[in-house]
Symmetry: C2
Subunit: 378 residues, 2 copies
């Protein structure tokens, strides 16, 4: 079980320290997404040390399909496999399975679906998800949940959330069982529960109250940033986070833009993850305090400055906008790698600065200044 200590608060914003068996996490924290045990854009776990990463996130469904969680287990778990010495969080596989749409069938026991790689039929329920995550030996496992659309009908969401609650109880029982097995790789594997309820305040709140009674290691908000407006998402955070335990970390899953993250921190969120920095980087879109730049733009052809003046990332230490633009135009992988490294550094640095601001009791000022600098796309 992780030890969670709040170092400082400012309004509902928190700076905390979360001790795990794989290292200490200082929150707020942005987890860097390494879907199949690698950050897309030719970035290795070793490279992550140079961009200030604290936690790497990997996707259970993808790793179950390839190389197989049995392979990762035999290699000693994800951390030695991908050579990352810090904490790892694995999702439950649910989100990917539910995005398969017509390809899957939901039952009380779990979900039947077809692999996106070879089409073979797979079943995943709470027990299977925990078993796979136990094989992957992450620091933090996520409970198996359904993620209903933010536009789903009330009746559907009510039924779905009730089933997810039953799945949470099964997830916890199975994780407890797995952690006590002699052959488990990480007997201290933690489990976070997931709050759902689409955009219905009362369903979100009832669910938050219920899952808080289970003694989990942390609590996540799922099913956000999947179609609702930013304002709806902030509203759900406003009404739900106060109903989660104050002595446990809060994780807002799959969110989001730099502005989303600052708004989330203000509303008491500790953990974030998002594919934006790596996905945008691969398309030559890079983040700066003054807005997002498209490096493919002709105006950067002769621009000798780094992506962002004063940035300490491995790209900005050495290379100019003009050079990176040339690489992107020539479709050289190196261009993508440099943009991804910069973007991860930008996100990691932004939340580290937010933490420092909370410790200094000037987060509200920091957030205001950052948001003023961002362009509309941020």
């Amino acid at each position: 079980m992780g030890k969670y200590v709040i170092d400082a608060t400012e309004g509902r914003a928190k700076a905390a320290t979360f001790e795990t068996v794989h290292g200490t996490i200082h929150t707020p924290v942005f987890m860097n997404v390494g879907t199949v045990a690698a950050i897309k854009g030719a970035v290795s776990s070793v490279d992550l040390h140079s961009v200030g990463t604290q936690v790497e996130l990997c996707n259970t469904y993808h790793l179950h399909v390839r190389p197989g969680d049995d392979v990762v287990y035999k290699m000693g778990g994800l951390r030695p496999f991908m050579c990352w010495d810090g904490p790892v969080l694995t999702d439950s596989g649910g989100f990917q399975v539910f995005s398969l749409g017509e390809l899957r069938k939901i039952k009380e026991e779990g979900v039947y679906f077809h692999s996106h790689v070879d089409g073979r039929k797979i079943f995943m329920g709470p027990e299977e998800s925990m078993q796979i995550q136990s094989h992957l030996a992450s620091t933090i496992a996520m409970a198996f949940d359904e993620c209903p659309s933010s536009r789903a009908e009330r009746r559907y969401v009510e039924d779905s959330v009730k089933r997810t609650e039953r799945w949470l109880v099964r997830s916890k029982a199975e994780m407890d069982r797995l952690n006590s097995l002699p052959e488990t790789l990480n007997p201290d594997q933690m489990l976070f529960g997931i709050n759902q309820g689409a955009c219905f305040d009362d369903i979100r709140i009832d669910n938050a109250d219920y899952i808080s009674t289970l003694d989990l290691d942390g609590y996540a908000l799922g099913g956000l940033a999947v179609g609702e407006t930013h304002e709806e998402m902030y509203h759900i955070l406003d009404v739900t986070v106060p109903h989660l335990p104050q002595n446990k970390p809060v994780y807002l899953m799959g969110v989001g833009t730099p502005a989303n993250i600052l708004e989330g921190i203000e509303r008491g969120v500790d953990f974030f993850d998002c594919v934006y920095p790596s996905r945008n980087g691969r398309h030559g879109h890079v983040y700066t305090k003054h807005g997002k730049l498209n490096l493919l733009n002709a105006k950067f052809e002769l621009d000798e400055s780094p992506i962002e003046e004063g940035c300490g990332c491995p790209a900005c230490q050495h290379f100019s906008r003009a050079y990176i633009r040339h690489l992107l135009k020539a479709k050289e992988m190196l261009g993508m790698r440099l943009c991804v490294l910069h973007n991860l550094y930008f996100y990691n640095r932004m939340v580290a600065d937010a933490r420092q601001a909370i410790l200094n009791n000037n987060f509200s000022e920091y957030k205001k200044k950052m948001l003023e600098g961002f362009d509309n796309n941020m």
Copy 2:
């Protein structure tokens, strides 16, 4: 002009030191190919320090087309543009132009051809090639030559070599003129001449004798490893290298396999370059002292050992064959990057070891031992 000092010889094999305005080169040396000012496989010039690179090679034709040598000139030349602090060699553009086949027309003044990027008509002769290379500001420029097929008819080769000789005189005059201009970025830019003659001993020898009378900074053998057998290539080296100046470096262009390189060193070659290590790396084919491995092979699925035991490359320092195989199967760019880094290290290390062996007067033993270890594909 570079200062070339032979440190030791063993038979015709040489270990030499070549002083350039951009740093000292210890030969034999394998130059790492960064076609468009970047090593394919997401490897930057900064990364090259970790794989023992001495010289980076860039392709004049590709850079002329994109981003344009005028852009590179305005950015201060290739070295600051790609952030490489060591020596750079640029080819003349001739080889790429001549591989365009039906798309080009050869005249006394030079070659008319169409860009592979946008189809626009381009003319390149000796003067244009030197002007572009002067813009790129490489340490060593190559003379503009025609590279006839190793199977071309005698009459064609005779005419071609005579024209290449006239182009060499024009290349030298133009490089001298450019180096004396106040706006030149590298007034010490060196020029290597290129020996041609397909597989005709007498044409090769006559050409070598002639170009040796021009006071060039080094001498290359071109038109090899383009269709003839390895034995034919070694024979051409045997008969031609003794006719090149012994007080200048010798460069075997575009060669080759590890075995080819050891045979070249034995025959007095100083400089090599080849796309094999990066191209093979991108396909998951990696070099070891015991032969080439295809990491996609199922037998590596659970292989916890590095690509090569005891290897000091950035991939072998951290990652297993099993992990890299997984990345390659999942088409993660990181897999390609790690294989390319390993292969460049392997080549760079092999020639560095060959140099040390020559200094120790046991190159012949070193070569024998290495060749015994290689499988047929090496």
